[in-house]
C-alpha cells in the first residue's frame, strides 16, 4: 500500500480578468470575465514509505498546486488522493498532524520569539506528548546542529540557520511524511550542503518520506533517487534521475589539453565542439564510444597534458527536457 497515492488529479482555476485602466476597472465591477486555467490535467503517481522524490517542473507547471492538494489545503476538482491512508482535504486536522511542510521562503516560527519557545508553542499546537517531545526535540537539535541557536529570536538567525530550525520545527510532531518546497533557495553554498545532508540523513536514518520541490538541480542530483517532472499540469517523466538524464542528453564531454596546438581529430561518433589553441572540447555518446577507449585512442596518438570528462550540467539536461516536451513556463 503506497504511503502517498495520487490518481488522475485534476484542478482548474478561474482567474478574473479585467481590462486595464479606469474604464476597465469600472467594467470589471459590472461584468466579470474569467479565464480558465487548467493547472492539473490528470496527474498520477505514488510513493512508498521512505522514498525521497524530487518534484520538478517549470514555473506554472502545477507543482505547488499538487503540493497544496497533498497538504490538504486545496480541494481538487477530480481524481483521488490518499496520504497515510487518508484523504487530505476531507480530514484536514488528522491529516496535517501527520505531515510536515517546509516552505523555502516563509518561516512558520514566530519572528520575535527564541527558537526554543517557538518549538514549545508548536508542541502545544500539535498536542505532542511532553516526554516524546523532549526526546524528539533533543534528537532534532543534535541532528540539525541547533544548540547555539535555540535561545536566539528567529529574526536574528542567518538564512541557513533559519532553514535548519524550520526543518526541525516541521518534524517536531514526528510526521512520517515531509514536503519541502524550495528548501535551499537563497542559501549560501555551505548552508545548501548542510541542508542537503540533513535531508539525506532524515530520509536514511529516520525513514522520513520526502517529497522535494526545487529549481536547484544540484539538490536533485544530490538527493533524489527518483524524479517526477511536471509540465502543463501533466506528468512528463517519472523515473530515476540517471535514466532521465540518459534519455534526454546521453552525451559526455571530453576536454583535452594538448602539449602543442590541438590536432585535427576525426573520430567516428565524436564531435568537436570547441577548439581553443591547445585545448579541444569533444562531445561523444558513451554508449557507442566508451570513455576509456576514446581517451586511450587519443592519448596514444597525441601528446596529452590534461584530460577532463564531464556530463552536461543538470540545468542543461532539464532545460533540454522541458524543451523536448514543450513544457516552457506557463
Amino acid at each position: 500500500m503506497p504511503q502517498i497515492l495520487v490518481q488522475d488529479l485534476a484542478k482548474t482555476y478561474r482567474v478574473a480578468e479585467r481590462d486595464p485602466g479606469l474604464l476597465g476597472a469600472f467594467k470589471g465591477l459590472v461584468h466579470r470575465r474569467h479565464r480558465v486555467v487548467e493547472a492539473l490535467k490528470g496527474v498520477s503517481f505514488s510513493l512508498e514509505a521512505g522514498e525521497l522524490l524530487g518534484f520538478i517542473g517549470p514555473n506554472g507547471a502545477g507543482k505547488s498546486t499538487t503540493i497544496k492538494i497533498l497538504s490538504g489545503i486545496l480541494k481538487p476538482d477530480a481524481g483521488h488522493v490518499e496520504v497515510n491512508g487518508r484523504i487530505p482535504f476531507a480530514d484536514r486536522f488528522a491529516h496535517v498532524g501527520q505531515i510536515g511542510v517546509v516552505f523555502g521562503q516563509r518561516t512558520q516560527l514566530w519572528w520575535d520569539l527564541p527558537v526554543a519557545e517557538g518549538f514549545d508553542l508548536l508542541a502545544d499546537i500539535y498536542r505532542i506528548d511532553p516526554t516524546r517531545y523532549r526526546a524528539n526535540r533533543e534528537d532534532l537539535v543534535a541532528l540539525l546542529r541547533l544548540e547555539r541557536v535555540l535561545d536566539q529570536p528567529v529574526r536574528q538567525l542567518s538564512l541557513g540557520q533559519r532553514m535548519r530550525a524550520e526543518i526541525a520545527a516541521a518534524l517536531l510532531h514526528e510526521p512520517p511524511v515531509l514536503f519541502l518546497d524550495e528548501p535551499t533557495i537563497g542559501l549560501d553554498a555551505p548552508s545548501k550542503l548542510a541542508v542537503r545532508e540533513v535531508i539525506r540523513r532524515l530520509n536514511r536514518e529516520r525513514g522520513v518520506t520526502v517529497l522535494l520541490t526545487t529549481h536547484d538541480m544540484h539538490d536533485i542530483e544530490a538527493l533524489a533517487q527518483r524524479v517526477i517532472v511536471i509540465g502543463h499540469g501533466q506528468v512528463l517523466a517519472d523515473q530515476p534521475f540517471e535514466a532521465l538524464r540518459a534519455g534526454v542528453l546521453a552525451e559526455r564531454r571530453l576536454l583535452i589539453d594538448f602539449a602543442h596546438d590541438a590536432p585535427d581529430l576525426n573520430l567516428p561518433g565524436v564531435e568537436v565542439r570547441r577548439r581553443d589553441g591547445a585545448s579541444l572540447e569533444l562531445a561523444f555518446d558513451p554508449a557507442r564510444t566508451p570513455a576509456p577507449a576514446l581517451i586511450s585512442t587519443i592519448a596514444a596518438a597525441h601528446d596529452v597534458v590534461d584530460i577532463h570528462v564531464e556530463q552536461p550540467a543538470i540545468e542543461e539536461v532539464i532545460a533540454r527536457f522541458y524543451d523536448l516536451h514543450g513544457a516552457v513556463e506557463a
Binding site: Y13, R14, S71, L74, A94, D124, R127
Partner: protein
C-alpha cells in the same frame, strides 16, 4: 482544556514579545488612553451648551459610552489577528500555514497578537463608565454588577463578530476593509447616545442589523433604572445583550464560508 492552555501560551509569547520594548508599549498605551479621551469631548461640549437632551445628562452618556468602549477594548485585545487578516494572511498566503496546523484557524488568529496598548482604551473606558455612573447616582448592587458584566460580554461578542466578518470579507477582496471601522469606531460613537435620538430607520439598524443598541442602550437603561422611552418592555432590557452572541454566530457562518472558498479556489 488544551485550547485554553494553547491560548495562554500564545498570550505569554505575545506579552514577552511586546515587553522586549517596554518603553514603546507604555507609550502606545498612554497614546491609546489619550486618543480615546476625545471620544467624550464633543458630548461634554454639547451638554455644556445645551444642558440636557431628551432628559438625558452627560453622566448617562458617559455610562453608555463607557460600557460600549469597554466591550470594544476587550474585543480589540483578542481580535488583532482578524483585524489584519486580509493584508497579513490572505494577501501573503500565510493563511496556508494556519490551515496546515491541526487547530481551528479562529483559535490561531485569536492567539496572533494580544496588544497591551489596548489597555489604554480599557482604562479610559472604565474610568468614564464609573465616574459617569457615580455622577448619575447608580448604586452598584450585585445584580447590577452582574448585568454590567453580561452586557460587556455581549458587547465583546458583537465587536468580535464585526471583526470576524471583516476578516471573512478578505477572502473575497484580499484586503482588509476599512469600511468596517465605521461599524467599530463609528459604532462606539453612535452607541454613546441613546437610541431615542436617532431616526427610526437608523434605530432599527442599530437593533436588528448591527445590534449595538442591544449591547449598550437597552441593558444600560436597566442599570440606570430607567424605562425605555421608546416603549420596549422591561424584561427585554437585560436580555438584549444576547443579540451580540447571535451576531457572532452569524459572522462565524460567513467565516466558514470564506474558508471553504479559500480551500477550493486556492489564493
Amino acid at each position: 482544556m488544551n485550547s485554553l492552555r494553547l491560548l495562554l501560551r500564545y498570550f505569554d509569547a505575545s506579552m514577552r514579545s511586546q515587553l522586549q520594548y517596554p518603553g514603546s508599549a507604555i507609550m502606545l498605551g498612554i497614546g491609546a488612553f489619550l486618543t480615546t479621551i476625545i471620544d467624550m469631548v464633543a458630548a461634554w461640549a454639547l451638554f455644556d451648551r445645551f444642558g440636557q437632551v431628551q432628559g438625558w445628562r452627560l453622566g448617562d452618556i458617559a455610562v453608555f459610552y463607557g460600557v460600549v468602549s469597554t466591550s470594544f477594548a476587550l474585543a480589540d485585545f483578542v481580535t488583532r489577528g482578524f483585524d489584519v487578516f486580509g493584508t497579513e494572511f490572505v494577501k501573503t498566503g500565510a493563511f496556508d500555514r494556519i490551515l496546515l496546523r491541526p487547530r481551528s484557524p479562529a483559535l490561531q488568529l485569536i492567539g496572533y497578537e494580544f496588544r497591551l496598548s489596548r489597555f489604554g482604551r480599557l482604562a479610559q473606558a472604565l474610568l468614564v463608565l464609573f465616574v459617569g455612573a457615580w455622577a448619575v447616582g447608580v448604586v452598584w448592587t450585585p445584580d447590577k454588577v452582574a448585568l454590567l458584566a453580561w452586557t460587556v460580554l455581549g458587547g465583546v461578542a458583537l465587536f468580535t463578530g464585526l471583526l470576524v466578518l471583516q476578516a471573512s470579507f478578505a477572502f473575497w477582496t484580499t484586503e482588509s476593509l476599512e469600511v468596517f471601522n465605521v461599524l467599530t469606531y463609528g459604532g462606539i460613537q453612535a452607541a454613546q447616545f441613546p437610541l431615542s435620538l436617532y431616526a427610526g430607520w437608523f434605530r432599527n439598524f442599530l437593533i436588528f442589523v448591527v445590534p449595538l443598541g442591544c449591547v449598550a442602550y437597552y441593558p444600560v437603561l436597566a442599570i440606570l433604572d430607567q424605562p425605555d422611552p421608546l416603549g420596549a418592555p422591561d424584561w427585554w432590557l437585560p436580555v438584549a445583550p444576547a443579540m451580540g452572541f447571535a451576531f457572532l454566530g452569524l459572522s462565524f457562518l460567513a467565516w466558514r464560508a470564506g474558508i471553504a472558498r479559500y480551500t477550493s479556489t486556492g489564493s
